[in-house]
Structure formats: C-alpha cells, structure tokens
C-alpha cells in the first residue's frame, strides 16, 4: 500500500482537490483507495454528500454512483491509532491511502507526514502560493533532521495545480519564456527549483468543481447517461487521463532514508 500525505501551509491551495484527482485515478484502475480526512473544514468528508445533493443540479440530472472501492474516513487522533489504521488498511487490501491535512503547520500534520511514503505539496503558479510551498519544503527538511538516519522518510514533491496554458507550454518548452510575464517567469523558476512532479494540472473549471461532481469515473458514467453532456464528458475524460499519468508517477516514487 502506498501512503501519500497531501500537505501545504496555505489554505485553499488544492490539498483536497489533489486527493480527489489521485483517488479518481485509483478508482479508474479499480484499486481500493481510502482517504483519511484530517482537515477541519471536512471538504473531503462532504465529497459524497455534495455529489448527491440536489441543490444546484439541473432537473433530470443523473446522480453519479459512488464507487465501492473508494472510502473516506476521519483521520485517527493519536499516533498509535494512525499506524494501527494504516496496518489494517494494508491487511484489507487497500492499494492507496491518501491523507488530506489541514492548512498551517501543526504537530498533527507532522505526524501525518512522517507516516507517509510520499508528501505532495500542491501549489499554484502564484507568488504567495510558491513562497508557502518553499516554506513547506523547508519544514519537511527540518522534519528530516529530527529522525535518525536509519528511519525511512517520505519523498517530497510539489504538484503544480491550476496551471495556465502559457506556463504549461513553458514547462514543456514549447513556447519559450518570452510569452510569460515577469511574475510568471519567477513562478516557473521557483517551481523548477523545488522537487516537483512532472505532471502539471492545467487550469480547468471542471477540476475546480471536482468535489461537486464526484470521482471522475463516476462523474463520466453519470454524464454519459445525460443528453447534451458530451463536451463535459470529454473534459472529464481529459482530466482523468492527466490524473492517471500523475497516479503512475506518484506510485513509482519510493520513500528515502532520514537525513541521508
């Protein structure tokens, strides 16, 4: 089982969205996935309810079916209970455990990071977000200094979310820097210096609303059953394809040894 903790000091950076993206990719491959929600605003805990809520949905809309392989629970409140829960999940055949943390820096978030194989720091290409991402990476470096050399320590990667097309093009070296504003150039340079995942997630309204639509495979199936939703189905499929690329990359990353 892979344990991934999603952490970032800034609120609204996309921690829950990252969990939703990775969970969607795991569900698409029919893998058992569990999300432990330790965020105080319970965005992920409410994912299923929001998906099924009739408010704001068009009349006659088909409500997606929640995937049987996706479980969301509250995170344990003690370190002992956390490791016990992880062992139980592993015994039950869970392939991926995602831990969605709260913003800010707290002792509990540190424990959730220590328990992971990989810590993902979602970030957006904006100065404020990147500054806090740099701080979060530095925080993890300090955490690494607090464990022995022999202990396993999670690998750390930033994930670029909400990436505008011009920055995406620059990142894959299609267009060159001259089309970027000075601030965007700084953002891209900062991002490149951080240990980052190679798959960026492009700006998308569907991504922003993923917590209202439900896991992508379920959302695709439901929208296929509705008339006039072909464009949205295509958008979801595109998003899922990116999610699966990201999933493949994160599943291949192994933890490192402490202070090594």
């Amino acid at each position: 089982m892979k344990v991934i903790t999603v952490a970032q000091q800034k609120g609204g950076s996309g921690k829950s969205t990252t969990c939703a993206i990775l969970a969607s990719a795991a569900v698409a491959q029919n893998l058992a996935v569990t999300i432990l929600d330790c965020d105080t605003d319970g965005q992920i805990m409410g994912w299923r309810n929001r998906m099924e809520a009739p408010v704001g949905k068009t009349q006659g809309a088909v409500v997606p079916t929640w995937p049987a392989t996706l479980t969301i629970t509250r995170a344990p409140t003690s370190v002992g209970a956390l490791y016990e829960a992880l062992d139980t999940l592993e015994e039950e055949g869970c392939a991926l455990c995602l831990i969605d943390t709260k913003p800010g820096s707290s002792v509990s978030t540190e424990e959730f990071m220590f328990a992971a194989d990989l810590v993902i720091i979602p970030t957006k290409p904006k100065t404020a977000e990147l500054t806090l991402s740099v701080n979060t990476v530095a925080w993890l470096e300090k955490c690494k200094d607090s464990v022995s050399r022999e202990s396993a320590f999670p690998a750390v990667r930033t994930l670029l979310l909400d990436c505008p097309l011009e920055i995406l093009r620059e990142l894959v070296q299609m267009e060159g820097r001259k089309k970027l504003s000075a601030l965007d150039q700084v953002a891209v340079d900062t991002l490149r210096r951080l240990p980052h995942l190679s798959v960026p997630i492009q700006t998308s309204k569907d991504l922003a609303n993923i917590l209202a639509y439900g896991p992508l495979p379920a959302a695709i199936a439901a929208h296929r059953a509705m008339a006039g939703q072909q464009l949205r189905v295509s958008a979801f499929e595109g998003l899922l394809a990116v999610a699966e690329l990201l999933f493949e990359e994160v599943m291949a990353i192994s933890p490192v040894m402490g202070r090594a």
Partner: protein, 199 residues
C-alpha cells in the same frame, strides 16, 4: 510488514516551537480565557443597548427579508446577504439549517470575512468577538463539531493577533508571533475538541 513511526533524535520543528514557547502559550491561553469570559458577559449587555438605541425605521431599512429559496438552502446563502439579514431572518435561517442538519458554512465564511475586516481595521474587535460567539453557538446547535473547531480557531487567532499586536506595540510587528500563535491555536483546539462542542 507493519509500519512503524520513525526513530526521533530530536523534536520535530513544530513540536520544538511549542516546547520553546510553552510559557507564552500557557500565558496566552490564560489571558484568552479571561478575555473570553469578560466578552461573553459584555456581549449581551452591548447587544441589548444597541437594539434599544436603533431607530425602528433605520433598522428596517438596513435589514433584508429572508427569501424562501434562501431558507431552502441555508448553507448556500451568500456572505454579503447573511451579514445584512435581520435577527428574525437569521433565526429562520438557523432553524432551517438545524432542520436540514447541514453545517451552515456561511457562518464560517461570514466569520472569516469579519475577521478580515477587523484585521484591516474596518470593524472593531468587540463586534468581531460578538459575531464569533454567535457563530460558534449556532454551529454547536446543529451539532457540527468540526465547524465549531473552525470557529474557535478564528476566534482565538483573532484574539491572539490582537495580543501579539499589543506585545509588539507596532502594527508592522503584528504577525511576528504568527508561528507561536499557530502553535497555541493547535494546543487550544486539542483541549477544545476534547471538551466537545460548547452548549
């Protein structure tokens, strides 16, 4: 193979921060509790005085009625509208939220908006504190411990930023204690969560 926590050779960064600032955190917690009790006492009296002083016509103009569709989705009321609702409309909204067993997120959002206004100097601390108390009580009524937790976070953060401002005596230094405040908020929240939602 069972997972094991790493072998620690030193406290983690935040744990070290809490340890280093234990005295400040304890003192801030004591001060906060004192201020909290005083504020609660003062809030009811202030509210009554304000209601008595408000001319009926002006009050009617400032408030807006609660439309039926809004009552049907109590957790989706826009913050700006919520802040302008009359007392009676807010009561209806809270009743609808309680019936639907939904977390009235608007209270959280509105509280955050109030905090931001206060930080910018557009609202006084007393108003913020009263609003925080009301929000916390209302959310507790619909039994949403997580939302209560957030209320407490904002309330304590707001109060402690004010204290930090006093300590530093300089608005530019206001956020100098942010990390300590954050550590305190975490410590305070742990205690609050253990106690459960306030009645």
């Amino acid at each position: 193979m069972a997972r094991k926590p790493p072998v620690r050779i030193a406290p983690s960064p935040v744990a070290a921060l809490v340890e280093e600032n234990a005295a400040f955190i304890a003192e801030a917690a004591r001060k906060y509790r004192e201020v909290d009790v005083e504020t609660r006492k003062g809030a009811a009296a202030d509210e009554a005085a304000r209601d008595a002083a408000r001319p009926p016509a002006a009050a009617a103009k400032a408030m807006v009625p609660l439309a039926q569709p809004v009552a049907a989705a109590p957790d989706r009321v826009p913050v700006k509208l919520f802040l302008r609702l009359s007392e009676a409309s807010r009561e209806r909204l809270h009743a609808a939220a309680a019936r639907a067993q939904v977390v009235p997120r608007l209270m959280e959002t509105a509280l955050i908006a109030q905090c931001e206004r206060w930080l910018k100097g557009d609202a006084d601390a007393g108003a913020l504190q009263r609003f925080a108390n009301e929000a916390q009580m209302r959310v507790a009524q619909v039994r949403a411990p997580d939302a209560v937790t957030r209320m407490v976070t904002w309330k304590v953060t707001a109060r402690l930023i004010e204290e930090a401002h006093c300590i530093a005596g300089d608005p530019g230094m206001m956020f100098a204690h942010t990390k300590v405040l954050s550590a305190f908020v975490n410590a305070y929240l742990a205690a609050e969560i253990e106690k459960g939602p306030r009645p």
